[in-house]
């Protein structure tokens, strides 16, 4: 029942957030805070690595959608990387896989989004 957020800075307007643990009603405010802080600090490209996320609920989806909207308005993007099948399925059954860009690896994401890692 913990969330760990590991942040890397490949360049000034890009951040990679590697998230580990459970994104739920208890932990998602922490993720939201981080995303808002980065967006307000001028980050345009947010690559969120979900490969170590074991649980994701509707509040987590809400936070990701909120971040996506924010960054697209700033002409950037929030993309997702490497969700486990179980987590990917949650995006699929809610139709959110059509709203988010979801990539297999961080390298894929960077290449398609045109940012250098």
């Amino acid at each position: 029942m913990n969330l760990t957020i590991n942040s890397r800075t490949p360049n000034e307007t890009t951040r990679i957030l590697e998230i580990e643990g459970e994104i739920d009603v208890y932990t998602s405010p922490q993720l939201k805070q981080e995303i808002v802080k980065l967006a307000e600090g001028g980050v345009k490209h947010l690559i969120i690595n979900l490969s170590k996320v074991e649980y994701l609920d509707s509040t987590g989806l809400g936070v990701l959608i909120g971040g996506l909207k924010r960054l697209r308005e700033a002409e950037g993007n929030l993309v997702l990387v490497g969700p486990a099948l179980r987590i990917l399925r949650i995006f699929e059954i809610t139709g959110l896989d059509k709203i988010f860009d979801i990539y297999a690896t961080e390298e894929d994401a960077a290449a398609k989004e045109g940012v250098t890692l």
Partner: protein, 142 residues
């Protein structure tokens, strides 16, 4: 009608974000008593998590409890998630989030309800002045 033997597990937790994980862990153990696949167990866990989350968001900072009654028999697992949050309480979801979600064509509550509908076989929501109850039913395979 034939009678079926059933087991009951009852869990009561504070209606607060940090306790939803306790409910999910207990439900993991309970659903493992059924002949469910790994994915089906996960489905039940997520559905119960969503029902609890809905209660927690409506409770806000008021003191409330969530009661989770699980009935296990050979036919189905029925889990009833009840809270004592008055039915007219509005979910405490920050406005900007709700707006962002609406702009994307979804609402978060709707997402929770949608997930429950898809993850289990039956969802029955009953609201009275004294609280809301969500009954989730997942049938055993075959």
């Amino acid at each position: 009608m034939t009678q079926t033997l059933c087991d009951t597990v009852e869990l009561t937790i504070p209606c607060r974000p940090e306790y939803v994980g306790v409910a999910r862990l207990a439900v993991l153990g309970i659903a493992s008593r059924m002949p469910f696949s790994y994915d089906e167990v996960e489905d039940v866990r997520l559905a119960v998590g969503e029902a609890c989350t809905h209660a927690v968001e409506r409770a806000g900072s008021t003191v409330a409890q969530i009661k989770i009654v699980s009935t296990i028999d050979s036919v189905a697992l029925v889990i009833e998630v009840s809270d004592d949050v008055p039915a007219d309480a509005e979910p405490v979801i920050p406005d900007e989030d709700a707006q962002a979600l609406a702009a994307a064509g979804v609402d978060q509550q709707g997402l929770g309800a949608l997930l429950m509908e898809i993850l289990v076989d039956e969802v029955k929501i009953t609201s009275t002045a004294s609280g809301t109850s969500v009954r989730l039913t997942k049938f055993a395979p075959e």
